[in-house]
């Protein structure tokens, strides 16, 4: 009997100590890990979209709440003055969820660029929507433009053979553009 009690006590004690230690380490590294993730996963897209900014884009991010949803807004500054902001939206593509980063110029409300940060599209087919030849079409368009593929009455050319993936990117940009006024007002605070 005493043997069973000892087994339970020892194993529980070891697990408890390990669990406590891990919780401490996890909370100590949490902010750094988040920063590293942003820097390595979203960083390249943000840098490309907000090219020409003189500030540290990852450090100058802001967390805002739009429609009860948390969003991260990256703010590009030239000579200390904000000139553009970028944020991410998700939509469904062909293979699953895709995340699209988009940037808006604050002075004329046009898109500074669009980049796909993560997707599950078919390699070589749907994945072509990540190419500049497709995403470049968004650049310079007004935030009020109709971001749909031309077959649906919009202004974007589809990637041949990847209409579902193309629509996914358009959906994300459309969603993001419709929130632009709110995001701008919210992040200006």
């Amino acid at each position: 009997m005493i043997e069973y009690v000892k087994m339970i006590v020892v194993l529980s004690a070891i697990s408890a100590v390990c669990g406590f230690g891990l919780a401490r380490i996890s909370s100590a590294t949490k902010t750094r890990i988040e920063e590293q993730k942003l820097l390595n996963v979203k960083g390249p897209a943000v840098k490309k979209i907000l090219a020409g900014s003189g500030n540290n884009l990852i450090a100058d991010r802001k967390e805002i709440v739009i429609n009860d949803k948390k969003m991260i807004v990256f703010i590009g500054k030239k000579n200390g003055v904000p000139w553009a902001l970028a944020y991410e939206m998700e939509a469904d593509g062909f293979g699953g969820e895709m995340n699209v980063m988009m940037g808006f110029n604050l002075s004329d409300n046009t898109l500074t660029g669009v980049g796909v940060t993560s997707h599950k599209e078919t390699p070589g087919v749907g994945s072509r929507v990540t190419d500049d030849s497709f995403t470049g079409q968004f650049k310079g368009k007004e935030s009020t433009a109709s971001f749909k593929v031309k077959a649906d009455g919009g202004v974007i050319d589809v990637v041949t053979g990847a209409s579902v993936s193309s629509r996914g990117v358009c959906d994300a940009v459309q969603k993001g553009a419709s929130l632009y006024r709110d995001v701008r007002a919210e992040s200006g605070k």
Partner: protein, 200 residues
């Protein structure tokens, strides 16, 4: 009784994993696409192996026999999570390169093997030296295997750092078979064969 130095050095040649102890082959085959990945994986393993050996050895008289494996796994898993968090926080590129193989260190037979076969029967100092020796041996093996595969498969060495060298010059046509999965088996097999010919 083996001398203290002997506990360390046996892991570098006599018992060097994965060539002598043919254990821990999963990470050996999977992450040795480049020299630095191999070394990084090796370093993570050294950390887990030394720490878990020390703790297991310290607790060897407290842990009841029937729950010893469960206890070892809890201890090993904790150190693996620590490594995972630290690589994520400080060397994210390595974390991305190693991916799932960091959490899989938990089930690396070398670590559980050393805990069960050595640390549970020996003093803390000996266990630490044993872990360090076996770990460093494993790291050097992975680094070497990675270097061979990288040189033949990509024509480079230390890819991913500023010390990258083009071993055969830029015009080298890489033997890409070596950085694919079958190349790992062929390369490991040949090295195992060479180690057997060299003997003790």
């Amino acid at each position: 009784m083996v001398s203290l130095a002997g506990e360390f050095t046996k892991g570098l040649w006599k018992d060097i994993p994965p060539f002598r102890l043919v254990l821990g082959l999963c990470p050996t085959l999977a992450v040795t696409k480049s020299c630095l990945n191999g070394l990084g994986m090796g370093m993570a393993t050294v950390f887990v192996l030394v720490c878990s050996n020390i703790i297991v050895s310290m607790l060897r008289k407290v842990i009841p026999k029937k729950v010893r494996l469960a206890s070892y796994i809890v201890i090993i898993a904790s150190f693996v999570v620590i490594v995972e968090l630290l690589t994520q926080a400080y060397v994210y590129s390595l974390y991305q390169a190693l991916g799932i193989f960091i959490p899989l260190i938990v089930v690396n037979c070398i670590i559980l093997g050393r805990a069960e076969a050595f640390a549970s029967k020996n003093t803390v100092v000996r266990s630490a030296l044993d872990g360090l020796g076996i770990g460093v041996g494993f790291m050097l093996s992975l680094g070497f295997l990675g270097a061979v595969r990288e040189i033949l498969g990509k024509g480079t060495l230390f890819e991913g750092s500023q010390y990258m060298i083009h071993v055969f010059g830029q015009s080298f046509e890489p033997f890409t078979f070596m950085v694919e999965a079958p190349g790992a088996f062929v390369c490991l097999g040949l090295l195992l064969g060479i180690m057997n010919v060299l003997g003790d």
